[in-house]
Assembly symmetry: D2
Homo-oligomer: 465 residues x 4
């Protein structure tokens, strides 16, 4: 299962459900298909899990009278299609009720040997309700629980899986946060008053005015049983030996650089790197790598804005915000009329002719997801009188699929990369096109230890599973 | 888990989902807490399962574009409270997706050794998503599937459980209906055109204009793989030996007589017995056992109507329909004002003073569920001028709990039976009270082989589990 | 405009909006298309008016925080179709805000010279927002307000209109109830604690446990400005002279007898007559007029029940309740499949074959609204084995249109009356058919002064307008 | 009534309702409280008018089966509070049905002598359903209709009113667009295929890919009865004499300059002026008037973006987009916890510390609506390490109320202007504050003839009314 999701957890706070709500709300950009909150009310777990957006799923009554308890975890789920019947079944956290222990699990990442592990478990009699990796983890943990106890069962589960995973677990009143040995997806630890909080991105802490403490470390299982330092214990994940064997020379972490390029919110800091600054630096690097004589720089909002800001500053070209966004565009649409061509492209963003007419333009964006959208926009800019149109992309062309949670195939990026730069530029109607080089990209970020497999095909975690 | 639910299934019909919708709709009285439909679309299962009423859950789009496929099963779920967060998790059919085989299971009844079986399974590594018996069955079936095949796995599962169960299963495109060895809950086989249909009650067949064929036999596993007789094979359930051992002298079936007294729709035929006629005969028997000099007979609608009709005919007293029902009473209420006493009793039924004033009245009902409601109604009738109020109940007092799916405790009937007839009559403000005798009740039905445990304490299935 | 609606009003009670809600709730049978409540909050009017059922329109928040104030009126609106866009515009009470005075008006009845009055008013510059008679009244009242004051303006308005009307008005904190000179539609005065209450039917008082005081008199304008008798003043309506001129020999009132036959709730008392008793007496009269050798009497629920009870008692034939109602039938339907013929007739009521087979049956109902429904039911009963089917209707055939609020045309009754008794019986598949005679009907009710125009064509109010 | 709304109209197009839907959708920023569409179906008008956002009010069924017809008008309504009960009553277009003629009217602006005209009309017997100016216009038009005909009645109505108004009218199948003599609010004429279209702003044309033809002229009543030029006739509005008398020396138009500063979408062209360019020029002028030694320029999104772009270009300072918007902020909120101070300010925009820390910042915005928001933001920026914070506002301080449709009082701007520049800067925690001068503002726009009353107190239309 390909998953790109957001996690949240909070330990012993009187407003646990409400703060989880806002923690998810701040991370809604990480998943719009579904959301869920599970609380521990002192004797059992309460949950509400549903397809939809956070502010549509939960109401005041849920937070004040149903999701009672002082410890909670939450999840926002990413998905491509409109909310489907299946989405109900796939929403997380996944909740298991046993006699002595209740477990709620929420996951961000992708387990590569999930199919094989499911088959193994099924052969041992397991049945699966959903296709989530959270349910898979629940099975793996539960089967050792009686003999090993909670912490060691989690370690044993992690030793079985191969893949990218950041996970929060609520085990009765114990809050656990863990991250795969390579730290592919982000996970952060903060503090609100005395209460430890966990989130995928620091922007959740900002909204709650929680203090950022540190990142959950790659390969760390952080078990929170109390407020004091001494009650927060770390256990090392034992990497699955076949994972390690496959990549003997991979050193250190494998942070997903696409989190910086595209996924994360610009106001977040993840992988020791502020996202805004990373994107701006990519724009600066782009301007150095591929300068162009032009009249203005404009982003494709919103994702291209920060890179365009950097390009403008480094190139000395004026920044223009010339595509106007309709802020009322919702999820479901009335069908346009038959002759309203390219409607879906047009409805969200409208270009300002007065800025564009007679001008040589540099467009900056973070990716050419689908050639079609870019092609339509370029054509429109020509109609409005643009004299030249140059495009600058803030990362190298995506040439290899991601197996760790980014669905490039459905985003259309792999298709765009089948052709040469010149072919793509021509096909899109561009006067020039440049993708930031790998070196340029890496020079834009302060941290290191990134997974670049989508660009260079060097996979840190075996994908044959 | 106490369950009193409704089942439906249809095999290879172009309108499978729609007919399942209507089959559930006709059986909505068997469960208002939740409903679900699962279809087999030729390569995978589609499902929609949700808390709520059938007509609120499914819309035209669900039936025409989502729940595609020609074979389907459905379930309506009984529950006491208002639709809760938990209800989402407990709704059925329960669906398991495996590589080669997908299983959807819907259940009506109560498994007595469920807790113990769950513990056993959990010890073997199983995890449970819900507390439904359907999930338990899914586990029991799946664990033998590879070595035994579908039919034998179902037999093996049945041999493990002790309890009352009527079940429909969809296994890819195979439709299966089965009933516990004592046939506690009803299950019927019909035919719509060429398509076999399954339902808890025949009233579902009437709505669809399907033809009634026969009852699924106690202890029968009916496997439907085609239209012809030869494609519908029966397998015998092997009773759990500890179940049998416990009741060596129990002979034949143990049909729940409360289905006839209260649960089933009067237009249904179950256990070889039309429900309307059974209730009317109980009224006739009551009139013989406990005649009274009075001016009129009136039912507490709707359940008392058919019994009152019988009492009136046998006694020669006039039948009056003197409690008027508000047909717009919904599930959720605006709170009444503080001084609107007894509002919830009053809002559904309002007595007609002109019929009651100065009269000696015989009230006929099927049970004294909660003394409070009866007490309030009797008091109101006195205020309206009733001279005498006699109450006749169409079954003996409930003195023992039901372990097979009737929640007498929450219905309050056990409490009422702690006192003598005279004490209860006095407490309720009645001039006289009579419960139909066991003999009178049994003489009212044409069939035999009933479970009477709630009246006489003789349990056909061991309850110690 | 043809209107058959329900009215409610309450004066100075702390729970005014909530009690109005329940007053409308009890009268929901008088109109399901829309509802509205207007309150006076001490300085201005608050309102919520919408298409739909009472319990769908208002929520707890509306009643506790929006519709504040201690004096209120409400309305339920009758309409034939499903809730349409237009319904929003036509819902009542109609509210007019002027500087010094705010007026809310709710109406039950039909103004015959409405079209002409609208034209007159339009010629004087008036514009109309809706097609309600309430808005027409608002215009007629307002134009004299400055020179005549409130009471006289209302009198002057009444003197202009020709028709049937029961009306409640809220004029700031003054509550007014009025009824046309012939008293066509019902209107009742009651008391809840010290607070005067107004309702179309007494069943609203029963739910609130309000005390019935008296009927608002035909031709009375009752103005309520305080709790004491002295603050409740009556003003006589001056009948429109052309109305009177047209019917010089009409004496007394013209109560709509169809309220007793069909519209009102059986537990209500209107026109000095309990509705249940009237219907039962009609059944008794029917049994005398048209006895038949048969095995049983059964009603078409719910409207035929009370008449069937009377018929059974008078004829000595057993009463059977052999058509079973599905209590979960909602307003909107999933479409049945193509071969589900007569589905809409079948879905609400299902006959019990065991009661019917081999029997000679007397069906009792209050009307043959559409031949089609009856024909389908009769055919079904034949299929189930009925030997003879006789039909008895509790009123004479409707031969003339009603201009005072009953939409016989859309109910299909006029069509049925174009044919002879024998033709209708044959067309419907009946062995015999009898409509209660006019004399029989009148002998069934204790009061007198009824409008019988739909039966005898003698219109008490000129219809040429 | 203060109104700031959006209008749309389309003449004889097969998809009239759907295109009106999208025309309103593109102008949703002009009003979020309610919306409505009225169509002429060839014999009568169809309408749906409701509180809420365009995409919540209308569904596919409304557009395809209910709002049939080929000519339509629509309206989006501006309001401050959450959707209230009253909003239903105030939504437009206002619709009047008369025998021969049906009129639907939608209005943007403010009638100054509305109260007086209402009183006059009420004295003549008129009653008012709502407090909209559209209803007032309906009254004024209707009362002359019979003797004057449509066009002259509209002219006569306009001659009565004093105020700012842009209006679209549908009179059966005739589409009319008109604008007050001073042209305070915008209104544009376009063409889609052969069909004339009307909109408040050209951004609606862009979405539909309609061609812009010209602005409706100040003082023009444009009557559209056919596709050809000859079927589109213009009638001059006769200004109300008392309006003219009051301002003998006012020359030309009085375009609301706030449309350019704040209201209109940046991609629209109104008053012969592209909005984006106007805002950018204001930023350029600001940079000249009030330069400051700083490290970066950042806008308060979204309204400050375009001005900040200009300021950055003119000053040579880098542009940073350092306040990150949460795109999922909806209209209704879960309450934050008690200690989440300033939550409502924080939830929409989060500053990026890495951009801000240690920097001298120039904030650019279009107004200081409420000091509180600015004060909180400035405080936050200080906490994040900003060394200096300078604020530049793209228009002069608002010192006088607007009577023509801008609700400065509720926006809080008048309050802010009671103090000196230095006082305000100090109170907000700013190192410096500068408002663009009147001259600077006027030099930023290519057109002339603006109303500047909110800045200089010179009212072009008498406000004493």
């Amino acid at each position: 299962m390909k998953e790109h999701c957001g996690l949240f957890g909070i330990y012993k706070h009187a407003d646990a459900a409400r703060l989880t709500y806002f923690g998810l709300y701040a991370q809604q950009h990480r998943g719009q298909e579904g959301a869920g909150i599970v609380t521990w009310d002192g004797s059992k777990m309460r949950d509400k899990v549903s397809p939809g957006l956070v502010h549509d799923i939960f109401n005041e009554q849920d937070l004040s009278t149903k999701l009672v308890g002082d410890t909670a975890i939450g999840h926002v789920r990413y998905g491509s299609g409109p909310s489907s019947a299946a989405a109900a079944r796939e929403s997380e956290p996944f909740l298991v009720r046993r006699n002595g222990l209740q477990l709620a699990i929420a996951h961000n990442g992708a387990i590569l040997n999930g199919r094989q592990l499911r088959k193994e478990l099924e052969n041992q009699g397991a049945i699966f309700y959903s296709s989530t990796d959270s349910e898979l983890f629940a099975h793996l943990i539960v089967r050792n629980l009686d003999k090993m106890g909670l912490e060691e069962s989690i370690r044993a589960a992690c030793a079985k899986v191969i893949g990218a995973y950041s996970i929060v677990i609520l085990a009765n009143d114990v809050l656990i946060a863990l991250r795969d040995p390579l730290g592919v997806r982000p996970l952060c630890l903060g503090k609100l008053g005395n209460s430890p909080v966990i989130a995928s991105e620091t922007c959740a802490f900002d909204l709650l005015e929680a203090e950022f403490i540190r990142f959950v470390r790659p390969g760390e299982i952080l078990v929170i049983k109390g407020f004091e330092e001494s009650c927060m214990q770390s256990y090392p994940i034992m990497q699955n030996p076949s994972a390690q064997a496959c990549n003997p020379d991979w050193q250190g972490t494998a942070h997903c650089i696409f989190e910086l390029v595209y996924f994360a919110r610009p106001d977040s800091t993840i992988f020791n790197q502020n996202v805004y600054m990373a994107r701006k630096n990519m724009g600066i690097a782009l301007a150095k790598e591929a300068p162009v004589e032009a009249d203005l720089v404009m982003p494709f909002p919103d994702s291209g804005v920060y890179c365009a800001v950097g390009y403008a500053q480094a190139s000395g070209l004026p920044y223009e915000h010339a595509l106007i966004r309709n802020h009322y565009v919702g999820r479901t649409f009335i069908q346009p009329t038959q002759d309203m061509r390219d409607f879906s492209v047009r409805v969200k963003l409208n270009p300002v002719q007065n800025v564009i007419k007679g001008k040589r333009i540099v467009i900056v964006d973070d990716s050419i997801v689908r050639g079609t959208t870019m092609r339509i926009r370029v054509k429109k800019l020509r109609e409005l009188g643009a004299k030249e149109i140059h495009c600058r992309i803030s990362c190298p062309p995506v040439r290899h699929p991601c197996f760790y949670g980014v669905d490039f195939a459905s985003r259309g990026e792999l298709i765009a990369s089948k052709y040469s730069k010149e072919e793509v530029a021509k096909s899109l109607g561009l006067d020039s096109l440049h993708h930031l080089s790998l070196e340029g990209m890496l020079s834009s970020v302060v941290s290191s230890g990134f997974c670049l497999a989508c660009f260079d095909g060097k996979y840190p975690i075996p994908t044959g599973a």
